[in-house]
Symmetry: C2
Subunit: 311 residues, 2 copies
């Protein structure tokens, strides 16, 4: 199939390009205005979106481009709504116009987030896809709002959309603004002679971690076998405390450290447990995660360590 | 209390202004760019929204301004998203800025719609507020998306929002693009000598009708006693087929008519039954509907008849 990927230079995007290549699919990579490795694409410009579709003639569009960092959404919610909600609505409109003009209906794979579930009672875990959305922050709200618009488009204009709700994806290449690569970077700095003190947020929080390469294979599988108009949890289905991830990283770094809790790293309305049920994804696609958490963590540390050496 | 009303010259807005006056509240009415009876307010202009808040210094903002007509949303979804989603996000931002500057947190009463429930299985009726949102058209999707953004704002920035999900509001003053006043206008034309043929859509559909004046009192009650961050169904809790409404209108008009079904008046993805549960609203506010359906219908016919005489 021919795949157009927005946000192709991001964390998930680069791994998705690799997974598409491995599966023998043609790829058309779009990125932000300053990306050298991909065609710049402005989500605020409907005619540019339409132009990209005309150029790529895709069978499937993976829409990964978004403002994904919760603290940035808290600092500037309007910009996050613009990129994540209006940008997605603009893409839906471009797909509608393209479908009419070309008599072709590319599938849209929308990168949503498990953040849309937000605040849930303990008995709601593991979360299934029919759980009521209850977003807790402006990033979560932007993804939930975009899902609503896409559902309306699917039911009114026959948009062939599949929604992917990613839980905590980890792996090489993630920005060190996120917790696991941030810890890895701090440890790599300590291992190379830095002050042996780590600054951490809430270590007790339990999360459902999945390697980004397993996630990328699931994206491809959903493009091929997901059901139109449906949402799928993308997760491991098992849960680990952040402190267990930290312990694995410290073992990988093999250095003594002092761990300091930093209130500024605690997110408002942080939730103690977040766990998904991936039954629906497995049943639809036959997908299964392959990479063990320990193996992901070792690679993340190795990447942080070699990046520090390189800089 | 001091109330700022957006969309004050609309169907619900005018009745809300009356209900606020009757309850002794101060009113600050905002309307569209061409409204003579209200201060023009552009939802696309964040600084205008902030200016209106500075001027009105409200205790409560009733946000009724929206593109509310489903066929218009189908014809031009992007414009509906802009007004209903981005416009609401802009108002939330203005409230956030105002709250910070003035150390005051006006309550926001958001006029959502039961359309957000969209397609539901038969056993879901009567609909309660915890039902998963499943919007079926771009108008429904725009209201569901705006609800998501407001929930995020409520939980992150302490926005004091109350969401009102109106079912089928009827009463004097509704645009004859909507079904009941449209039937009334056709009948008034027949009664004054027109061709005795009526064009109708799906008469079997069953809806939960509520008089707009009862709805306006509920809006005021929710401003006073609704719970922050909660959504409330606004409905009668009982159901009537469109053909029963038509029969009452024909009785009021007292003319013989031929009724013709018109496929163009059938909405895509129309649902056979739509019924809400108003227990939550009653429990929070003590509100009860007062105006019987038959009485609403007679008044709607009388209004259509006198409007025809006046034109």
């Amino acid at each position: 199939m021919r795949a157009l990927v927005t946000g192709a230079t991001g964390f998930v995007g680069r791994h998705l390009l690799a997974a598409l290549a491995e599966a023998g699919h043609e790829r058309f990579a779009c990125g932000g205005p300053h990306d050298a490795d991909a065609m710049p694409l402005d989500l605020a410009d409907p005619s540019a979106l339409r132009g990209a579709l005309d150029l790529a003639q895709p069978d499937v569009v993976f829409h990964l481009a978004a403002q994904t960092f919760v603290p940035e959404a808290l600092a500037n919610p309007g910009a996050t709504y613009g990129t994540n909600v209006t940008g997605t609505a603009n893409l839906a409109q471009a797909l509608r116009d393209y479908a009419r003009a070309e008599n072709a209906t590319p599938r849209l794979i929308f990168a949503s987030s498990a953040e849309v579930y937000g605040h849930q009672p303990p008995q709601a875990f593991p979360l299934v896809e029919t759980t009521s959305l209850s977003p807790n922050n402006p990033y979560a709200a932007s993804k939930a709002a975009a899902e609503m618009l896409l559902l309306g488009e699917a039911r009114t204009f026959a948009l062939d959309v599949v929604i992917v709700r990613s839980f905590n994806l980890i792996g090489p290449g993630q920005s060190d603004r996120f917790v696991v690569p941030n810890f890895a970077k701090q440890l790599a700095q300590i291992a190379s002679g830095g002050k042996p003190v780590m600054h951490v947020g809430n270590l007790e929080a339990k999360r459902d971690f999945l390697d980004v390469r397993d996630a990328a294979r699931a994206y491809v599988a959903l493009a091929e076998r997901g059901v139109r108009g449906e949402a799928y949890n993308l997760c491991s289905g098992s849960v680990h405390a952040i402190k267990d991830v930290l312990r694995e990283l410290i073992l990988a770094a093999h250095v003594p450290v002092e761990v300091r809790e930093d209130p500024e790293r605690m997110r408002p309305s942080d939730t103690p447990l977040f766990l998904g049920d991936n039954t629906k994804l497995r049943a639809a696609t036959g997908w299964e995660p392959r990479i063990a958490l320990r193996s992901s963590i070792r690679e993340i540390y190795a990447a942080a360590s070699s990046q520090l050496g390189a800089s």
